[in-house]
């Protein structure tokens, strides 16, 4: 076995471990956070502060039987949860946690992550279609139209960043913002005066891309039972859940790298992986905070927001930045 193959395998194992650990404990954090916001304690029975709740949930999910509903397309039904989880794991490989910690630095890292992120929509479609459930089909139709509409403004914003940096390598993008908060992409500069708006657009789009509330039309419990994973039990459901939380971590990491200076300190001191982790967990907290603040939007409101507000503004930002980059 050659060294590069071994390296890749180790990287993937670490990525899976990181994703699984995050998925398990973000569920805990989500439930505790939801509890605090609603002024109740949240899970607090298993272990101190309820910290043993995720292992208990995991054991329960893994020991349950996977029921395949009659009339379902077995192949698609089995493939869909894996397809939800695998792209999320793959995206971890190219995310630089600091200038030293990156599994495989690619010069087209941004492109690769967004290519894999698009597969997530495919997983939802297959899950809804394959389980032969009308709620599932309706949910996947919604989720796919949502994913397509929100990928457009997201990618336009990313193009703006790539234009400013001149590189598709996530590591280069983060290094170009080193040195302090005034170098971060979120701070407006002469050549890119609308970057805070671009940050808001990207943040909103990553909420929508990860199917998080208030954009969780794909699993609207009050209308569609559980949406695309209505028919899934045991670890099939578990994989969807893990995929969702892994996607949240990736979304937060992307926002950190593209806008918030990656592993750089706001004052330019001691850059390192700790700043990166601090930033992504603050962002994840804000995801949880937003989820438990706002009610779910309607599908029309959701698509109107994307096509009437986010896309025009991000396009305007792209053109403005392109022009100003030529001038300054």
């Amino acid at each position: 076995m050659s060294l590069t193959v071994l390296n890749a395998i180790i990287a993937v194992v670490i990525a899976i471990g990181f994703a699984a650990l995050n998925a398990a404990y973000l569920v805990w954090a989500e439930r505790r956070g939801a509890g605090r916001i609603q002024r109740r304690p949240g899970p607090n029975v298993n272990g101190p502060l309820g910290l043993l709740q995720p292992p208990a949930d995991g054991i329960k999910l893994m020991t349950k039987q996977l029921v395949i509903p009659g009339g379902a397309d077995k192949a698609l039904f089995m493939v869909a949860p894996v397809l939800a989880m695998a792209p999320a794991i793959m995206s971890f490989v190219t995310i630089p946690f600091s200038d030293m910690i990156v599994a495989h630095s690619m010069n087209i890292g941004v492109l690769m992550i967004f290519a894999f992120a698009s597969l997530g929509g495919m997983a939802i479609l297959l899950a809804g279609w394959g389980s032969r459930n009308k709620y599932g089909v309706m949910a996947s139709v919604r989720a796919v139209s949502q994913n397509i509409s929100y990928e457009v403004p997201m990618l336009i914003t990313v193009i703006t960043i790539v234009m400013m940096t001149g590189s598709l390598d996530l590591k280069d993008i983060a290094t170009s913002q080193a040195g302090g908060i005034w170098n971060w992409n979120i701070v407006p500069s002469l050549s890119a005066p609308l970057m805070p708006v671009a940050f808001l657009i990207f943040f909103t789009c990553s909420l929508a891309e990860t199917n998080r509330a208030p954009f969780d039309l794909g699993e609207a419990e009050s209308e569609l039972v559980a949406g695309f994973h209505t028919e899934y039990g045991s670890m099939g459901f578990g994989l969807f859940f893990m995929g969702e939380y892994a996607n949240i971590v990736i979304g937060a990491s992307l926002i950190t790298i593209l806008f918030l200076g990656g592993w750089g300190c706001p004052l330019g001191l001691f850059p390192g992986v700790w700043w990166f982790l601090l930033k992504i967990y603050v962002l994840i907290f804000s995801f949880i905070w937003i989820r438990w603040t706002f009610p779910r939007t309607t599908i029309y409101g959701l698509l109107n927001l994307s096509w009437k507000i986010l896309i025009p503004i991000s396009l305007f930002n792209l053109l403005l930045t392109a022009g100003l980059l030529k001038v300054f």
Partner: protein
């Protein structure tokens, strides 16, 4: 065009107000009570099933007159008594007197509607509402309360 931007700004502003409210609530103390581990004190006017009131020496105040039994619209109360002789000093000499002592006071809670007629009708203030609400059982016999026994258990 102005209305378009106005709507965006107004929307953003209201979203921020919402986030501010939940952020404040995040740091407020928890208001729920973890029920089986902690219970809250029941209010003064809470009406549980009835219970007997004791006097200073720990015996029931009840004189077994049977007024509550007669007042009960659903015949949920059945009580029994016996006569006991006791000695009392009257003007320097001992005399034996008789009085009724309660031997059984059974409340059939399956038919009781908590109307409070028994409490109202008692001339001696010997019956009152309890604050007991942890009442769950699979057998209806468990709701035939022996109130005399409950009084003894409370005292022990």
């Amino acid at each position: 065009m102005g209305a378009y931007f106005n709507e965006i700004f107004r929307g953003l502003q209201s979203l921020c107000i919402g986030l501010g409210i939940t952020f404040k609530e995040f740091f407020q103390p928890v208001v729920t009570v973890p029920y089986p581990y902690k219970t809250i004190k029941m209010s003064e006017r809470y009406r549980g099933h009835t219970e007997l009131v004791e006097d200073e020496s720990g015996n029931p105040k009840c004189v077994a007159c049977g007024m509550c039994q007669r007042a009960c619209p659903s015949q949920s109360i059945s009580l029994a008594s016996k006569s006991v002789e006791y000695e009392v000093e009257v003007k320097g000499e001992m005399k034996t007197k008789k009085k009724k002592v309660l031997t059984k006071y059974e409340l059939n809670f399956t038919t009781c509607s908590l109307c409070g007629q028994c409490v109202e009708s008692c001339n001696f203030g010997a019956v009152t509402f309890s604050k007991d609400y942890n009442l769950a059982s699979f057998r209806k016999e468990d709701f035939h309360f022996d109130l005399l026994n409950r009084l003894k258990e409370r005292n022990s």
